[in-house]
């Protein structure tokens, strides 16, 4: 298993530089990190070149699309697809979750469980068809306590059953904004186990980002046609 952390935010959005995140992730046993800053903040992360100097860990620059409605989501995804290796969508709103699941350009729906919204059956079917991965973002489990965390756990437990039923790809992340937000793959596996995710599915979830990246980096000219 070569685990990747697929949804991090670095300076200027988070509080740690890309190289600091890379160094911390390497010490925790990751093979790579994907930095997905939101499209609404000032664009590219600072110090990407410095992060590439950290030996033994791959640093990938992706993007996390913030959209207010379905239409702008699809157009942003289509235009960003060519420019970045990994495309995430800022989820949480029920309509946006659904729209992201219906868009084959999208790789990952980040934190779909923020707030009370979850994934419905229709969205789950769409995600399966378009191979859009769902993020199991464990930051609420780390940062929240009491009733708020109980509500979040209820939603996530229910949706994990749904993901299993429809065989939707899953990625585990902390959505970290600082090196102190990062957790090692083993710790995340232990936390996910409390939510009802077994070890095998967790391991699969950690190695999924790398295979998605390998697919995205091939030069596709149209659907299913590759330029060799």
């Amino acid at each position: 298993m070569r685990p990747f952390e697929p949804n991090l935010h670095s300076l200027p959005e988070g509080s740690a530089s890309a190289s600091r995140l890379a160094l911390a992730a390497k010490r925790l046993g990751y093979a790579g990190i994907i930095i997905t800053n939101h499209t609404t903040t000032c664009g590219r992360p600072i110090g990407v070149e410095a992060a590439r100097l950290v030996a033994g860990i791959e640093v990938v620059i992706g993007a996390e699309i913030v959209a207010s409605d379905q239409r702008s989501l699809h157009s942003k995804a289509a235009s960003l697809r060519e420019r970045v290796d990994f495309l995430a969508v800022h989820g949480g709103d029920e309509k946006i979750n659904r729209a992201a699941c219906e868009d084959p350009n999208v790789d990952l729906l980040a934190h779909p469980h923020q707030g009370r919204a979850g994934i419905g059956v229709a969205a789950a079917k769409a995600a399966q068809e378009n191979q859009v991965a769902m993020a199991l973002d464990l930051s609420p489990m780390i940062l929240l306590r009491g009733p708020a965390r109980i509500r979040w756990m209820e939603t996530v437990r229910r949706d994990l059953d749904l993901f299993g039923k429809f065989d939707i790809p899953l990625m585990i992340t902390t959505g970290g904004r600082s090196h102190l937000d990062l957790r090692s793959p083993r710790e995340l596996t232990a936390m996910a186990a409390l939510l009802g995710l077994d070890r095998d599915r967790a391991f699969e979830a950690f190695s999924l980002p790398e295979s998605i990246l390998a697919l995205n980096r091939r030069r596709w000219t149209s659907v299913g046609v590759e330029l060799v």
């Binding site: 102190l180 936390m191 409390l194």
Partner: protein, 178 residues
């Protein structure tokens, strides 16, 4: 602990951890924070079952004890600690072992000084390392090769300033050289 029937005695695991924080972490704050995370995640009943105790903590590295079947639960609850004493922090599990001795030897570095972060290096051919402490002419050296102190039960190699300079005309055998 009061003596107990050997067959009924519970088995234990020792969890070696490292605290990464933005400032100095006090042991009391850490214990309170782990307790709070534990009762918040598992409740009183779960906390009684995994029987977590803080054995030692030196400001950076520490040791916890738990029941041997519930180490994964402990990993999860340590991962949910996000601040200690009002300061952002994270607990990293370094490893789990069956005895205090093994956990300490395997997972807790014996010298916090890294060889390259100390400017005072000593290199005498067979002996090389970085200086930990100097008292008069006595020098404690953290060796690059941990095997150097094997068998003696010490952490550092003891040297004097004479070793470094070769012959010294002031040498009179006393430790401070006066």
């Amino acid at each position: 602990m009061r003596s107990w029937l050997p067959v009924l005695r519970d088995r234990r695991r020792y969890i070696a951890f490292e605290v990464e924080a933005e400032g100095r972490v006090r042991g009391g704050d850490l214990v309170a924070e782990i307790r709070a995370a534990q009762t918040s995640l598992f409740g009183d009943l779960g906390a009684a079952k995994n029987r977590l105790r803080v054995i030692s903590f030196d400001g950076r590295f520490g040791l916890l004890r738990s029941t041997h079947t519930r180490t994964e639960e402990c990993r999860a609850l340590l991962a949910t600690v996000n601040s200690v004493g009002g300061m952002r922090a994270a607990i990293r599990v370094r490893g789990i072992s069956g005895s205090i001795k093994a956990a300490t030897e395997k997972y807790i570095p014996q010298s916090i000084l890294q060889p390259d972060e100390n400017k005072r290096r000593v290199d005498l051919g067979p002996v090389s390392g970085s200086v930990v402490r100097v008292r008069g002419r006595e020098i404690d050296l953290s060796p690059d090769d941990p095997k150097m102190t094997e068998g003696s039960g010490t952490r550092y190699v003891g040297l004097t300033s004479f070793d470094l300079r070769g012959e010294d005309i002031d040498a009179d055998g006393t430790s401070d050289g006066l």
